[in-house]
Amino acid sequence: MINYDITPIAGACGAEIHGMDLSRDLDEEAVDAIRAALLDHLVVFFPDQTLTPDQQIAFGQRFGELDIDRFVVPMEGHPEMMVLIKEPDETVNFARIWHSDVTFQERPAMGSILYAVEVPPYGGDTMWANEYLAYDALSAGMKKLLGGLRAVHSARGGYGKAVLNKRYDQTKRSMKIYRDRDHIAEQEVTHPVVRTHPETGRKALYVNGAYTERFEGMTAEESKPILQYLYQHSIRPEFTCRFRWTQGAVAFWDNRAAMHYPINDYHGSRREMRRITICGDQPA
């Protein structure tokens, strides 16, 4: 029996959970409580944790099998662990666009768990957006149209050869990306534009500006007006929360119903985070 409390931080999504020590072996009751809170709030935060990579991995494994990223070179000895670093002299941050993680995979992530190792005194917040609300707020006509569409996703825009040559060659970056994976970046998958969450049964908008290329069966040019509209719509402030990191904070989000955006407003400061990703199912 543990004593914890859950405090929402905004109207749309996000809640802090106090009273849990994630470095310990949590009992079933705690894991169930976290899973329920995750489904309710889409992203949950645990301030003031102290986690080794092994402890973070063990925590993540309570919620499913861990994914190994295809593009980012992992922490040595821990293939499941992605280390997100921006050094004081770097200006480009990682994944600097609103997105849902790895939607270029046939089975995109169920969720991700991010742990703050070192953060600036201010700046470097992360925002999340609730895509159930984004879907709910569409007109009946638009819902009907989107309900019949699938979209093509690929990693080209993030990890394709052209992008890597342009973005990563010129400066020495702390994030190491594999340079021999262009054939993977070129692979296309399709997902429904509106997905039904496998656990809640709710419908969520499921396109993002990072990896969605076009609607299936249409050209990119034809798809653009609606996709651009949806990218704008899906991140309306009413759907979002914003979390200010402190060292030791953990965020765990439901990648099936939430998008996120790391704010790049901390040039000159160092920020280091560790991420693990839980495998998901095929969107339906």
Binding site: A10, G123, E238
Partner: protein, 292 residues
């Protein structure tokens, strides 16, 4: 320069800071006012927590920073012509200020700043976003800066035109009977009176066109600017508690009231400080015969 009377803690990199050490319910000495003003100019949005203000003290506080103006559209609270109540009740769904905007730029003298004080707020939800428009300007390309510096925009009060949404059921009570269209022309890039810094001054809620251009011609640029101006990197998000007072600089910061708290009551009092005329480049109105 260090602060001696107050403590200043930034909320985000772009703008916003929490100030502590000042009890706003009591008259402030000149040194404290000078430090608050400095923090205000540095951070654009300053946040005081745990205050206990009467309406009289709220107005008196605003007077230390300028001359309170009367809202041209919203009815003031009783006995305090300088205060408007920003209210959304449990049964209401529309909120006030739920779009990125500068306040009252359709006036010839746009508002300098507002002091918004929380009386009653939901336990979560109802945050306000602010966006630093110095940064919005500074991050434009040199070519685009040059283009914008040659342009004025026409600001209108069209968003306040009488319509269903503002019917008698709403807590925000407008002066509707004598509504008339107002326009003012301001430069798209202005220079801040006090800091001397250049800032983007285009208001998505009221800049309808560039002076001398049609609305249709203006849309592509205005839409682009609205998106650029509110990039998360330029913003902060302020969470309210009862007793929170936020004072923002309406000359260089836009704001957005997040409407994510249906079913809850939120009541704030606002006092705004009157402005100065901005030097606009385009003196003559749109020529006759040109669609406007």
């Amino acid at each position: 320069m260090a602060f001696r009377h107050i403590e200043v803690k930034p909320l985000a990199s772009a703008c916003g800071a929490e100030l502590s050490g000042a009890d706003l319910a009591r008259p402030l000495d000149d040194d404290t006012v000078a430090e608050i003003r400095r923090a205000f100019l540095d951070h654009l949005v300053i946040v005081f927590r745990g205050q206990a203000l009467t309406p009289e003290r709220h107005v008196a506080l605003a007077r230390r920073f300028g001359t309170p103006e009367r809202h041209p559209m919203v009815r003031a609270v009783e006995d305090h012509p300088e205060i408007i109540a920003v209210t959304k009740l449990e049964h209401e769904t529309a909120n006030f200020g739920g779009i990125w905007h500068y306040d009252l730029t359709f006036q010839e003298k746009p508002t300098i700043g507002s002091l918004l004080y929380a009386l009653e707020v939901p336990p979560h939800g109802g945050d306000t976003l602010f966006a630093n428009q110095y940064l919005a300007y500074e991050t434009l390309s040199d070519g685009f800066k040059a283009v914008l510096e040659g342009l004025d925009t026409v600001h209108t009060n069209r968003a306040w035109a009488p319509r269903e949404a503002y019917g008698g059921q709403r807590s925000i009570r407008l002066y509707q009977d004598d509504w008339r269209a107002l326009e003012a022309v301001h430069p798209a890039v202005t220079t801040h009176h006090e800091t001397g810094r250049k800032t983007l001054f285009v208001n998505p809620n009221s800049s309808m066109r560039f002076a001398g251009w049609t609305e249709e011609e203006s849309h592509p640029l205005l839409d682009h600017l609205a998106r650029h101006a509110t990039r998360p990197e330029f913003t902060c998000r302020v969470r309210w508690h009862p007793g929170t007072l936020v004072f923002w600089d309406n000359r260089c910061a836009m704001h957005y009231a997040i409407n994510d708290y249906h079913g809850r009551r939120r009541i704030l009092h606002r006092v705004s400080i009157g402005g100065e005329r901005l030097p606009s480049r385009t003196v003559s109105p749109v020529p006759k015969g040109v669609a406007a």
